[in-house]
């Protein structure tokens, strides 16, 4: 290769990431301004400077970053009488730009979240090495706590944002026949807020780490190292992104449905995202209050959570008033995905569609009145144990409807056992275990023993990893041809499925065992008689990690050199399959024909566009 060609390529790469570089530069300037103001303020008032410098420096750096990365050119100029300009266009550069195409934003979210997921997964492996044997092995207790806390908060972010930010962004507007979301620039903003969150979290070890877990309970989160302030700011910023995303999808579904796309014709995934988005924008503000109060106590010494006058239990209430509904922000869209996939690959209408929609909306309401089941051992007044136990257990009724729909849909279907379908079926199994073990934690007597043990760890991993992450994997394979325009490798997909399903279950079932045997969570050390089972979990977790290697290879290789995908390789009836793969800028060349998304088996229905199904992967079953 000649020197000129190499230089030319370098210039192209620089041009592609120019907005990011400018964002970083503006962030640096912002950091300087904010830190300067903080120094000035602390000098005048005689307070310690470190945390105000971090907080104010970050706030200005965030503003600088957003303006630099493209908010100024494509938005903020208008506020000062200028003319904003939104740059579209192809090439890799669009992924590094403040662009408003919902499909590009969806891919930005997806790639970011998959990378974060793999990083936080490595964090889990580091913890498992430490836990392979009793005693101190690899990490100091402080480093263990930081690894554990980072794993937790990054995975929470992945669980909240991957489906809504990634898949819903890419597919939801197409599924309802829209050209874009209701507020495209807010959509871009909600993505570009995310990288600073990741940077803050990755930087926490430099600032002494943070040992308060993802829940950040004060007074611990008030008195620990400055790394915790970075965590609090990251969580707060991420919440802002979540609220913006929630508003956007609620508005999109209400206002942008194509003519003929009535509420009763909405694909179930759209309903699920709508329900989750409602929670996202109603509930997230509460956790923002809680986090802000911790920051205020850290910086200004406002005694919210310590006596006299303060009370740490109050934080737990406010925190879980968001964070319990938040698990439904994670799982409702996952329900939407697996029901969607089960229907299309069983070639049958979604069973009891209307009941599922009712169940989703009921779950939205009920998710707000169960939070105190996280507080059965907190010392809150024991008279509130009973109502919260009963309300929590009542949620199993609407959740049961989701299972009814899943089983009713596959019954007498013609199931195509493709990789996405296999993941969707595995999710039914995993979430079943997650749901049933949840009963032990809703029941006050058993919860008193199991609270804060590995039983809880295993339970929520079964709902979020076994449930949601499996749904995300199903969705990645299902929509891969639509998003990338290329086909993934079916054999590698199945290898990934078998490995992940097997080793995920082995790992987590053993966690139930150590939990009931008396191992508490968030500890780097434990009684020596549990070391055998812990070694087993560690080995299984490494095999689980290895099962992701074919996945990563498959994604990278298929995206770059996979065979071209047809517009509708699955012969599915929802609208995203009635346009090209990948879809054009405003999604449809011609206005789509709106029909029943689940009209399988009815000869009177319009046939769907797309090639013969026979060419599709999975046809050899």
């Amino acid at each position: 290769m000649g020197e000129g060609a190499r230089q030319g390529r370098g210039t192209v790469a620089m041009a592609a990431i120019f907005p990011v570089l400018r964002g970083l530069l503006f962030a640096g300037v912002g950091l300087g301004i904010g830190a300067g103001l903080a120094v000035l303020f602390t000098n005048l008032t005689g307070r310690p400077a470190k945390e105000p410098v971090i907080a104010l420096g970050y706030v200005f750096a965030l503003i600088g970053w957003l303006l630099g990365v493209g908010m100024w050119d494509s938005w903020a100029k208008e506020w000062f009488g200028g003319k904003a300009h939104i740059q579209h266009g192809g090439g890799v550069g669009r992924y590094f730009r403040f662009t408003t195409d919902h499909k590009v934003i969806g891919i930005q979210y997806l790639v970011t979240m998959v990378v974060l997921f793999l990083l936080a997964g490595i964090g889990a492996l580091v913890m498992r090495v430490e836990l392979a044997d009793a005693g101190q092995n690899l990490l100091s207790p402080g480093d263990y706590n930081t690894a554990m806390s980072l794993h937790g908060i990054i995975m929470i972010a992945v669980a909240v944002a991957t489906i809504i930010g990634g898949f819903a962004n890419f597919t939801l507007p197409i599924m309802i026949g829209a050209n874009d979301v209701a507020f495209p620039r807010i959509n871009a903003l909600s993505y570009w807020i995310v990288p600073p969150v990741a940077v803050l979290l990755v930087l926490t070890p430099v600032f002494g780490g943070f040992d308060n877990g993802w829940t950040g309970y004060p007074p611990l989160s008030v008195v620990n190292a400055p790394g915790a302030l970075l965590f609090l700011l990251a969580f707060l910023t991420f919440g802002l992104s979540s609220i913006l995303g929630g508003i956007n999808f609620v508005a999109t579904v209400i206002t942008l449905r194509a003519p003929g796309m009535t509420w009763s014709r909405l694909p179930i995934f759209v309903w699920a995202v709508f329900a989750a988005a409602l929670i996202s924008f109603i509930a997230t503000q509460w956790v923002a209050y809680a986090l802000l109060m911790v920051i205020l106590q850290r910086i200004f010494g406002m005694p919210f959570f310590n006596p006299p006058g303060g009370n740490a239990v109050m934080y737990e209430h406010i925190f879980w008033f968001y964070s319990h509904p938040a698990v439904y922000i994670m799982i409702l869209p996952a329900f939407g995905i697996f029901l969607e996939i089960l229907s299309h690959f069983s070639r049958k209408p979604l069973f009891a569609y209307k009941w599922v929609v009712r169940a989703f909306l009921l779950i939205v309401v009920m998710s707000f009145v169960v939070w105190a089941h996280h507080l059965f051992t907190s010392g809150m007044n024991s008279r509130i144990h009973l109502p919260f136990m009963v309300l929590t257990e009542l949620i199993s009724i609407p959740t049961g409807v989701v299972f009814l729909s899943a089983l009713g849909t596959i019954w007498r279907g013609r199931m195509w056992l493709t990789t996405p379908m296999l993941f969707a079926l595995a999710m039914v199994f995993n979430f079943l275990i997650g749901g049933l073990t949840g009963l032990f934690l809703a029941d006050v007597p058993t919860d008193i023993q199991l609270q804060d043990t590995y039983f809880v760890v295993a339970h929520f991993h079964y709902t979020i990893m076994g449930g949601e992450i499996f749904a995300i994997m199903a969705a990645i394979y299902y929509w891969f041809p639509k998003i990338t325009g290329r086909m993934y490798n079916e054999t590698l997909g199945r290898v990934h499925f078998v490995g992940m399903t097997l080793f995920y279950n082995v790992t987590s079932i053993a966690m139930f065992v150590v939990g009931t045997a008396g191992m508490n969570r968030r500890v780097a050390d434990y009684p020596a008689d549990l070391s055998g089972t812990n070694l087993f979990i560690t080995v299984a977790s490494f095999l689980l990690a290895a099962s992701f290697l074919p996945f990563v290879y498959n994604m990278v290789a298929s995206w770059t050199r996979g065979p071209k995908a047809a517009a509708n390789p699955w012969g599915a009836r929802t609208l995203e399959w009635q346009t090209s793969s990948p879809p054009p800028l405003e999604n449809f060349e011609h206005p789509p024909v709106i029909d029943d998304p689940y009209g399988y088996g009815s000869p009177a229905r319009q046939p769907v566009a797309g090639p013969a199904y026979g060419a599709a992967p999975g046809s050899g079953d």
Binding site: R347, A442, D525, S619
Partner: protein
Amino acid sequence: MNRDTITVAALWAVLTVIGEALVIGIGLFPAPLAEEAKIVDEAFEHLVILGVPVFTFVVSVLVYAVIRFRRRGAELEDGPPVRTHGKWVAFWFAWTTALTVAVIIHPGVTGLRSLTASHGEDPDLLVKVTGQRWLWTFEYPEQNVTTINELVIPVDKLVRFEVTAPDRDVLHSFWIPAFRIKIDAVPGLVTHTYARATRVGAFEEDVDYRVQCAELCGLAHGKMAATLSVVSQEEFEQWAKGRARVEAR
């Protein structure tokens, strides 16, 4: 009833029998060493036994459907256009509601009641527990004894634990795995819990005789544990007198 339904029902029955055989008497917990532990263990066992048929039902349908209703070759035919089935939906609602009320809520409510039944009684012994980073202090006000990381209580006596944390400290949680009791230590609040030990024993013989901090409290959280000895009333009195004498000096 058609062939598919009957086969699934048979599969469900077989799997349920196998499942119950596996879980009955599985004994996942440490040995129960207090009255409270028995209530918790009964509730746990109850939920396991009644959870098995629910689990096997879904698994049976899932497994049977995958085997029976997967497509053959590259068949492109659609399944039957069944959208819903009123009777099945009603049947499902009736069962899930009945199960939730009878199997989950009712035992939960009664279990909660029996767990708190002793709370009105006059305790035989009061222990004031303070959790601080990273040690446990036990104060016996009637005996004039204070210990660090060493809890000694008499067997067969109702003990009331009053738990707190210093104002400038963080949250902790007072947990005795063998007793199945757990309550947070909150700065500025006094929380309480009760236990009546049913057997003598000591940490040296069984690690479940320990007080473990169960709420993340920072650096040495994992090591914040105290030993527990359950002794006879006479031994307890002797121990307390001996300790009081030492402390008076």
